[in-house]
Symmetry: C2
Subunit: 697 residues, 2 copies
Amino acid sequence: MLTTRFAILTLIFALITVNLFSQLNNIYSIVPKPFSLNTNGERFAITNQLRVSVTGHPDHRIYANASRFVRRMAERTGIFLDEQGFVTAKDTNSASSVLIVIKRPGKLQLREDESYFIQINSKQVQVRAETDLGAMHALETLMQLVSADSSGYYLPGLTINDKPRFTWRGLLLDPALHFLPVNVIKRTLDGMAAVKLNVLHLTLCNDQGFRFESKIFPRLQQLASDGNFYTQEQIKDIVNYASERGIRVVPEVVVPAHTTAILVAYPELATLKKEYTLQRYFGVFDPVLDPTNEKVYTFLSKLFTEVAGLFPDQVFHIGGDENTGKDWNNSRQIRTYMRANGIDSAAALQTLFNKKILPVITKNKKTMMGWDEIFQPGLPEDVIIQSWRGKQAFYESVKAGHDAVLSNGYYIDLIQPASYHYLNDPQPDDADISAKQAQHILGGEATMWGEHVTPETVDSRIWPRTAAIAERLWSEKDVRDVDDMYRRLDIVSLQLEQLGLCHLSFKNTMLRRLCNGYDTRALQALVDVIEPLKIYERNQGDTMYTIFSPYTKLADVATPDQAVPRIFTKQVDDFLQTGDSTLETEIKQQLLKWQNNHIAFLTLLRNSPVLQEAEPLSLHLSEIAATALEAIDLIQRHETAGKQWVQQKEMLLETAKEQGGRCELQVVAPIQKLVNAVSGDAETSSTESTWLVSTRQ
Amino acid sequence: MLTTRFAILTLIFALITVNLFSQLNNIYSIVPKPFSLNTNGERFAITNQLRVSVTGHPDHRIYANASRFVRRMAERTGIFLDEQGFVTAKDTNSASSVLIVIKRPGKLQLREDESYFIQINSKQVQVRAETDLGAMHALETLMQLVSADSSGYYLPGLTINDKPRFTWRGLLLDPALHFLPVNVIKRTLDGMAAVKLNVLHLTLCNDQGFRFESKIFPRLQQLASDGNFYTQEQIKDIVNYASERGIRVVPEVVVPAHTTAILVAYPELATLKKEYTLQRYFGVFDPVLDPTNEKVYTFLSKLFTEVAGLFPDQVFHIGGDENTGKDWNNSRQIRTYMRANGIDSAAALQTLFNKKILPVITKNKKTMMGWDEIFQPGLPEDVIIQSWRGKQAFYESVKAGHDAVLSNGYYIDLIQPASYHYLNDPQPDDADISAKQAQHILGGEATMWGEHVTPETVDSRIWPRTAAIAERLWSEKDVRDVDDMYRRLDIVSLQLEQLGLCHLSFKNTMLRRLCNGYDTRALQALVDVIEPLKIYERNQGDTMYTIFSPYTKLADVATPDQAVPRIFTKQVDDFLQTGDSTLETEIKQQLLKWQNNHIAFLTLLRNSPVLQEAEPLSLHLSEIAATALEAIDLIQRHETAGKQWVQQKEMLLETAKEQGGRCELQVVAPIQKLVNAVSGDAETSSTESTWLVSTRQ
């Protein structure tokens, strides 16, 4: 009977779901993984009696944070915790169900104590921390620990001791290239706090625009922002929002290159004297400040002082990257100057420039920071170096006595998987530096360069991968289990969404736009197995983006680090090792779906010309899926394929690697393995599993 | 073979999809429906050669608007229109592919000309309008007309003449009850512009909080806002954003009741002298200003003048609703005053109060507006009345010479279907008013009162239903086809989403939170057939909300005006009329899904206690679905049911009407019809279809 069949299927589905849910309630799901965790078998029941108290000597920020904790707990559990609208300095009852004990106010500065201790038993949740910064980290951990079963919501009984490995755990946001409204910055800060990131690096200008309201040099936002900039009130709002969450905000005003925007407003500061217009493309450009012009230093002195006044952080970033040196070399005046002063290279001239702006920074009681191009002979030691071009430069600057932050390997704009970033350690065992030198390693920073992100897509490029980087920078060096990281990342991804981040929800909206309708299944099936081109491949070929280009196409709905190909790859690997028949069924089901998806995709295509660039990907997916099914068939029949078949399929697979709509299929490699398994090639068969070989006996 | 079956199913799916897509490209999908539309069979191809020019004498706002039009066109079609970054006053080429001709700058005021003419042929898209306001409406119409087929994107050849029926087409947003950040206001304004709404009514305060930064009376935001208020810079930003889209912003500072927030800051202005704290509940409360205290008028004079300075609109709303009169009646001083001045009721005293604040408004060159409680004898004619309590009061105020805006019947917070609001006409044929009096009907306003909405859910309560109200207020009176309205509403809903509105995308996020996982199907199936309690039922019983309550539960993921019950009801009606076997199959498939859903729901429940309140709904859905299947079975076998069966099922159906989690099942009525059809009751069988009766012969 139809009913019975449905019931059985539902039961099977239910069993699978139960299994999934036990994982979701696993207490070992915290990201970043804490220093130590010990369970005690009890549980603290979350009820409408939950009250939070704070004792000790905290910074005032703990109260708003604890109030938000209560609200988030209510939103998460549906329990009305309305009796405690706010946690205030009056809430000091040490018998409170949730007690936070803080020794002293925390300072938003390098190397501040962010440690915390949590103890949960059936009676109380206790948080103890040196500073409110640690206490706020504890509250985030508690949010991640919320569990449930049929008896209700609870926190599992345990004790946690936790502290970060590195003091600088940053994320760079880049409103210079694509402007990001204040609400996007704020929700990003909420996400950062959830995974204990503590530095927001904000690029305030670049060739494409100046994003800061200057009252001293108003031509900057009037002429060089297209109306997209933060007012001073908004800057204060952002800085305050971050501070309330224990996050430092480091401003960057990049000089002397990447200054087209500044030169649109004040061309007299340029090396090459002409009229400048905002750069609409993305890349590296020649406009550069004139380091021999005293007016430049006067200007920067005033501007930097103005910016420094609005950003209370100790660190002031002056960029310093990607100076082509071309306008300097083409300037007779500058060549003359260099000869007269014994400066033999653009790099040396830039070092002179950096040394001349350093006093501006120090007079504002700030520490200067720049990209690794500024790490040159003669650069004073008390400049922080941010390394992006390689580990070698990173360690050299550390050895030379500079505090340093690693971004190389954390370039999340390059669309690489979380595992790649996760395994990228700022201080691996083979790093050739002493323990003393290693003290200069402040930590690392993920960089969300703004070339190809908009407010609609930026969350999907940051999350959840950046949570893996957050763990790399917080947790101990030996925490490197990639599978477990992905398991926990899936859970954290949902928690991040609850903070208002759109990395999951944006996708259906974009799919609907691309399909011009509600039924997006055929496109979703394709999007699940593609990723945007990686590294710098996207902005090439016949598609050169400008700031006006639409980011609502295939490469924008596609996201990095897709799960379906990752899971499929593992299934194929396991199947080729073991020949497991359940795996075989699952793999074949998936392949059938892909094989048959193209028909439905073609129907979508009829009314969505924007999807034409995806057609080759969809066709290739169908073809290589059919190929894989044939390969599995051969494996089942203990046969190897004919030479012609192999040749044909090799060509298919090669074609299937081609990009479409600036994206690539991610399932070619596992299907290649299936083809290899039946190709009868001596070379590949030597790596085959015993099982595979045995099938052909 | 599995493959063939899949292929056939896919083909069937494809055919259904094609049918759906032809509907989506129907040129008669504009909301609001234009005054007249005539096709000419041509088409204008949208290519990367698209350029927009503007001639005539427009207000500057057309340029930013036209620039956004180009960007939106690029995002919609994926075509790179980067060559035209901005439309500027230099773009005046009358041979441009898109030409906008504007006679004169439009003023953001009542009764301004908002008409437009569109002509589309293969060579050019021409927009002609008296004002830029009309031209901007035309651009929104053009965005809705974007069509596509395999040859590419195009605009269908046609001419449109269009103009609004009413001049006041408003939406009230209420950040007083639940604060709404600036980005929520802005995306709402984008949605309003898309459906040609032109007034945003903003409530700046209520008992729960004061949401406006006063520099004259800073205690207001310091003591009475919980930190949630708009700075003056933000107000200017909102007003400017609206103005750029042809939308007027009408501020409301409600007096003399609903003033708890003001009295928290300035208790000396109260009737009842005591200390006030912010009201945390929702409802009608007693705190009220003292109309006999001159200080009140001094205060309001300064405050109103400050607010008026930031809101350039002609109209200033002073609220005036829901004054219980209790504190007045309990005040000996006021009773004495009333006796001494011959004032015999609270309403009369409030009229005196209104007359005393009117000069403040008029000295600021504004027109006063208030809710219909202020429509009392003695109220000057030049006060605009906003009617919410009924049509009678509405027509009375119109007859008395007041300009009037209708909100009764447009209370979108009451969770009624779009059809209800759509058929609610400000000037129906049976309205007992003359043509001259009818000139006082300015139009209408949808009200999004903030009791039960948050930034996460507010879009789903406004959209897409408010688009139906927008049509009621713009299009001609005889445009009343409900089915066609719903068809077009489905399409417009997708377009609204593309503007950043979250009414569709919020749901999956909330489902995932409630399920604490990725698989939400069982909950979605239930949510598809429930709606939050309507009218004022939600905030009753054992669930009294405060501003601290979580809005992340069943009644928040559930949305008004569900499509699945509506479609199912129609299917059942049609089936009972015709006995069509395809319908029968579809209905049974749906019923089987509902019947079997409860098992999967129970699995979700095991780890999501927050869903316990939904369990009865899920169980009842399963039970009445089983009931309906039994009824259809009886119909198939040409039998009537036994008396006991009928009694049993009537009880089941009655129970199934009960609320769960402040929601109700919406499929009880159609299933009741199926039970009636086999109940053999003489009364019901008289209304049966010939087909049904014939089945039993």
